[in-house]
């Protein structure tokens, strides 16, 4: 039985989708961000960074959403959420997941929380620049999906990186040019949303439309 500490729509969404894809037994534990519970002494014992999510797997207390995705994929090889160890496809899988977390997700944090870094005038510049950069990143992913056979990041094979991409695309839904407005990404998001596992995770977190 896994425990997934979550807040609706936060970075727990990708691991949550994977738990549904696997058909694993798990319980959700709400970390109430509206009460700043992610900075409570109890939660900081689980994740000293005060970020959501955390996965508890027996004696293992794991944070970093991308690491949780990798771990779940490894623990459940029958679910085929990642290519075989040592293969070229596995390397491509790592590349996408790492790029999504260290580049796209990192830029999204600048978009959502620019005031953490600077005063109001500077924060406005940071936010605008981040939105522009995220647009360029989405354009590049769009071009990749258009160039390859698809329909997933790794081609014909669904992987944990697709759940991660869906989660990050969802976070762009309030931007001037959100991910869904691009033809390939729009199709990708519709396809991902049609999967029962995705629907199960969204319902489990109580996420309402618009989904992305």
């Amino acid at each position: 039985m896994y425990l997934l500490y979550y807040y609706p729509g936060n970075a727990n969404l990708a691991p949550h989708i994977l738990l549904e894809e696997i058909g694993a037994e798990y319980k959700l534990v709400l970390v109430d961000r509206s009460q700043n519970q992610q900075k409570s002494p109890e939660y900081l014992k689980l994740n000293p960074n005060g970020r959501i999510p955390v996965l508890v797997d027996g004696g293992l207390v794991l944070y970093e959403a991308a690491a949780i995705c990798l771990h779940l994929a490894d623990r459940h090889p029958a679910a085929a959420l990642a290519p075989a160890l040592g293969s070229d496809a596995r390397a491509e899988f790592y590349k996408w997941l790492i790029y999504l977390t260290n580049t796209v997700q990192a830029e999204l944090l600048l978009y959502f929380y620019p005031e953490r870094m600077a005063d109001a005038a500077a924060a406005a510049q940071i936010k605008a620049h981040a939105e522009s950069r995220i647009g360029e990143m989405l354009d590049q992913i769009e071009a990749k999906l258009a160039a390859d056979a698809g329909p997933f990041l790794l081609g014909a094979q669904y992987s944990a990186a697709d759940a991660y991409l869906l989660m990050l695309c969802r976070w762009t839904r309030g931007m001037h040019h959100p991910a869904r407005t691009r033809p390939q990404l729009g199709r990708f998001l519709d396809m991902m949303m049609a999967r029962p596992a995705t629907q199960g995770a969204f319902a489990g977190e109580g996420i309402d439309a618009p989904f992305y």
Copy 2:
């Protein structure tokens, strides 16, 4: 025979150290940043992000330094650069590598290139804030190394995450409170630098002292 596209001290350093740890056959290919070669049409065919490094492994062209580290670890299990698939230790390894790339490395990019995001006044704020945040991250890693038996991030076992940490710590050497000034991290860096593989990579890139 691997090809590693590099510029001295850039994000290629961690993969380079691992190639030395493995004892793999490889050739270095210089990407001359002083001539902006990482944005040349030829290089953009290898990595559309225009970032260094790229690893060529037969027909595989791989970017994202952390992904290259994972791939090298997987391709060479005898080198024991990552714990066994599906183990708790493997999950911890993912956690550290992901955290280093999506949080510490991402913040270092803000420190080094704040002018990409905003005007001069805002950039000065971004840089100062990034230095402060990186200090907090290093303090947290210091506390982790002090609390556990060490001497590596995963305890007794050297892993690819240690090479990544060394690389990022090196990038703090010009800060007011660089990584080396913390007792545990200072000891860690000295220990890492004593490894022949580290020395081989530094020499191969022509990196001069101070190393970190």
